[in-house]
């Protein structure tokens, strides 16, 4: 397992395992404050970063972990159509009554329209929380759980409401106990539908949930056998969901549950699904599974086995309670080390939400959702049960162009908002030509990248600001100045550092 060819995205240098999880006691500054905000949340405006840099690391982490219970944000999508599930059911009924084609066609179109409305409003609802919540870590953990215990809206008949309910399961337990989350997920209607457990019965158990529960959610390949999957599928028979007209809630159906004896991992007896989950969490592989998950998500990719073991030890010690583990991780030496700094690729959601926060753009635009689609990450629509692979897979010609084009849109949009004075948070973007090109360059790179640009790049940016004729900014007309500033802000964000988290 050594050798750089097989861990190309593990940071260079050597891990000091004895001190890795010890509290960081080094200097606290703007770069580290921004790092913490990016990882444990979705970044912040330059003013926010300055505020956090002016406190201490411990105070900053405390504020993230002990987040306010009441965020003052809407609990549900404003336009999520509560009639949606019923509409679908009624349309099916109508169809079975053999009404004429035109009526069926019209109903299909109505369903399609209400689906699209509910879709955008549900996605927008969560993005709004990510941008505006005073509890960013809670939203970040919700995103982690959503990409881990995946379900996808509209697939297998999953409604927006079911996805929102599942989303609240994650949000309410954001820093809770992951064994309890797994128990709750095993009774979650969206999940039971997504992985085909809702109709699994003792005569023909469906293995989809049983397999992914171990392969992706808790243990990883190599820690169970095919037979364990078959036995677990038997245990989960009868974990069902009522139809939409009967409320769509979870229920246990003893009639189709296989109550015979099972041999699952090291447990024996007439096990049910909950006993299967408890048995899984007694395996040593479970704490390691979540340790690598957190390290890959919050610290760096391809973490060393010793580091995985050390975090797994903390998870076990805390009996799978995640809050205390995150508290250790976000204060640790390894988290603030050079090896972790900008060592991750921004996910599309981090990229879009972070850019909006940088400019103080509080509203979710349709363009932002479209951009997320082109970048390959739309909340509530993970591409497969594995969620999003992340890391290098975020980056390809298609997604990188979508990122640049979103930045171009945002810069233009933000300057419009600033001109119409609906926005004041972007005070960092110099809007009057009083500064020299050198100072303007410094200010932009400081606000956008916390100074993380090479001298050569700074020189190129300054040359762009000066233009071909070396004219000073002050000599530009108002309109040209504005265009130049927009261009320079865009170019600062086009630097590779901005793609990194």
């Amino acid at each position: 397992m050594t050798g750089s060819t097989n861990t190309p995205y593990r940071p260079a240098g050597t891990l000091s395992i004895s001190t890795a999880l010890q509290p960081y006691e080094g200097p606290w500054n703007k770069r580290l404050a921004a790092h913490l905000l990016r990882r444990a949340g979705f970044g912040g405006s330059p003013e926010e970063i300055d505020r956090v840099a002016a406190t201490s690391m411990n105070a900053a982490v405390d504020a993230l972990i002990h987040y306010p219970k009441d965020t003052g944000l809407p609990g549900q999508p404003s336009e999520m159509d509560p009639q949606y599930a019923q509409e679908v059911a009624l349309a099916f009924q109508a169809r079975s009554r053999a009404v004429d084609d035109a009526t069926v066609q019209m109903q299909r179109m109505q369903i399609q329209q209400s689906r699209q409305k509910a879709n955008l409003s549900t996605i927008g609802w969560w993005l709004d929380r990510m941008i505006n919540s005073p509890a960013p870590l809670q939203e970040k953990m919700t995103l982690l759980w959503h990409g881990h215990f995946t379900s996808a809206m509209f697939q297998k008949g999953i409604t927006p409401k079911e996805m929102v309910d599942q989303n609240w399961l994650f949000r309410s337990n954001a820093l809770g106990n992951v064994r309890e989350i797994t128990h709750a997920v095993s009774r979650d209607p969206a999940m039971l539908k997504y992985l085909d457990n809702a109709r699994s019965n003792k005569d023909h158990p469906n293995e989809n949930y049983a397999r992914e529960l171990m392969e992706l959610f808790t243990l990883g390949i190599g820690n169970y056998t095919e037979n364990d999957i078959r036995e677990s599928a038997r245990a989960f028979t009868g974990y069902s969901v009522y139809g939409p007209l009967r409320g769509g809630a979870f229920y246990f159906n003893p009639k189709i549950h296989d109550d015979g004896n099972k041999a699952f991992l090291n447990a024996r007896g007439p096990l049910d699904g909950d006993q299967v989950v408890d048995c899984i969490f007694r395996q040593p592989a479970a704490s390691r599974w979540f340790a690598q998950k957190f390290l890959n998500f919050f610290v760096y990719n391809e973490p060393e086995p010793q580091l995985i073991d050390a975090v797994a030890e903390q998870i076990k010690k805390n009996d799978f309670q995640i809050g205390p583990v995150m508290s250790i991780l976000l204060r640790s030496n390894v988290f603030y080390s050079d090896r972790a700094y900008r060592a991750l690729v921004k996910s599309p959601v981090e990229f879009v939400v972070g850019t909006q926060k940088l400019f103080g753009l509080k509203e979710v635009t349709p363009q932002a959702i479209g951009a997320l689609n082109r970048m390959g990450q739309v909340p509530f629509h993970p591409p497969s049960v594995k969620g999003w692979d992340g890391g290098a897979t975020w980056l390809n010609s298609q997604t990188v162009l979508a990122r640049e084009n979103f930045l171009n849109f945002t810069v233009t949009y933000a300057t419009q908002q600033m001109k119409s004075a609906t926005m004041s948070a972007s005070a960092w973007m110099p809007m009057t030509p009083s500064l020299s090109t050198k100072d303007t360059t410094l200010k932009l790179v400081d606000a956008i990248l916390q100074g993380d640009a090479a001298p050569a790049s700074m020189a190129k940016l300054q040359a762009y600001l000066e233009g071909n004729d070396s004219s000073a900014l002050g000599q530009l007309s108002g309109e040209n100045f504005e265009e130049r500033m927009r261009g320079a802000a865009y170019l600062s964000m086009a630097m590779p550092a901005y793609q990194l988290n």
């Binding site: 050798g3 060819t5 097989n6 995205y9 593990r10 260079a12 297998k156 085909d196 109709r199 019965n201 005569d203 023909h204 469906n206 293995e207 989809n208 397999r211 392969e215 992706l216 390949i221 190599g222 820690n223 095919e226 999957i229 390691r288 599974w289 690598q292 990719n301 391809e302 900008r342 690729v345 591409p383 497969s384 992340g390 890391g391 290098a392 897979t393 980056l395 390809n396 010609s397 298609q398 997604t399 990188v400 162009l401 979508a402 640049e404 084009n405 171009n408 993380d452 640009a453 790049s457 940016l461 762009y464 071909n468 265009e483 261009g487 170019l491 630097m495 590779p496 793609q499 990194l500």
Partner: protein, 407 residues
Amino acid sequence: MKRNRFLLGAVSGLTVAVNADSFFAKALAAPALPGLPGGADDRILVLVNMQGGNDGLNTVVPYGMQQYYRYRPSIGVTPHDVLSLNAQVGLNPEMKSLKAMYDAGSVAIVQGVGYPKPDHSHFRSTEIWQTAEPDHIESTGWLGRYLDSANLPASNLFNAVAIAQVLPEALIARKVDVPEIPALQGYGLASDKAAGQRMAFSSLVSDGRAPFQSPYLATVAEIEDHAQRGSEELPKLIAGYKTDASYPATPIGRSLALAAQIIGSKTQTRVIYVQHGSFDTHAAQKGTQDRLLRELSDGLKAFYDDLAQHGNDKRTLTMTFSEFGRRVAENASRGTDHGEAGPMMLVGGGVKGGLYGEHPSLDDLDNGDIKFTVDFRSVYSTVVEKWFARPSQGIIAGSFPTMPLLA
């Protein structure tokens, strides 16, 4: 610096042994096989991934095996509907277009393809098919290794193209970077107005220097540079292409139309990867699988009409694969769970049409799954050696007999 994929072994708690420096790296410089017919230099492979695990038993239906109907009382395809290939097997009734191509001799179907100790995980089995390495985690794809060995011009940004949202592992190479172009729309930069900004952009994004270290810095700079230059070049290279072929208005139809356009242009592309699916039919299988098979079959028909119009049908080989077939017995949700072996299809003017390999028995199952009769690496070796005229050594680990699939 080529992109490397996230290694499953590295993130999953190291359960799978990793071969630190495989023999592939050493074998890259092997010369072309002597004595093979020429013309391989303009040959193209289009690989179609039937993603999600296509149910082979309802694609190439063993309607002559009585057991089939016992295992599939509700989703079995009735003998009357099957598009018969012989007295034992026939195609799914939705594949009429492909059947016509089969009758014309341009489709080879390999039955019962799989590998030893089959893995039932989508992700691990996909990885196995894409890397051609069932026994350990390999960081390059089988086509990536072909690309690396083929001495392709380093300046060409389109030696291979993935018509997909993410880079498939099959195309991960050490030397060749493969662009992902799911559609032409969206492949381009919106901000072209100021030339000064454009120049500054291109020099800033490709500058890998920064006052910090990051394992991703070089990768980001390279991809940004390639994306920018590629999106400027490709529209010029494929401009003016016209076709009368009528593609179905489906995702696979659009992908194949783009593939034909790339093949018919000046990009000198060798490999194109197309994504189709999802075939993961755990429940209510029939509607989904039938639709996907029809879309594939009709799409391939239009694709080869288009290629033939431009004289590209003989030099374009299309091959399908899927990470696994599905369980023989249907489940309670009128679907099927993850299984093992399945058929592969090879299409094109260079194919020797017909049925190959033995259809797996339904009386001798491996814990409910059919046993493979042809190792997928035999098919891959055939493509590498007979189509691309390269030695398969260094590309496909181990030694597998080639098959007479090509004319």
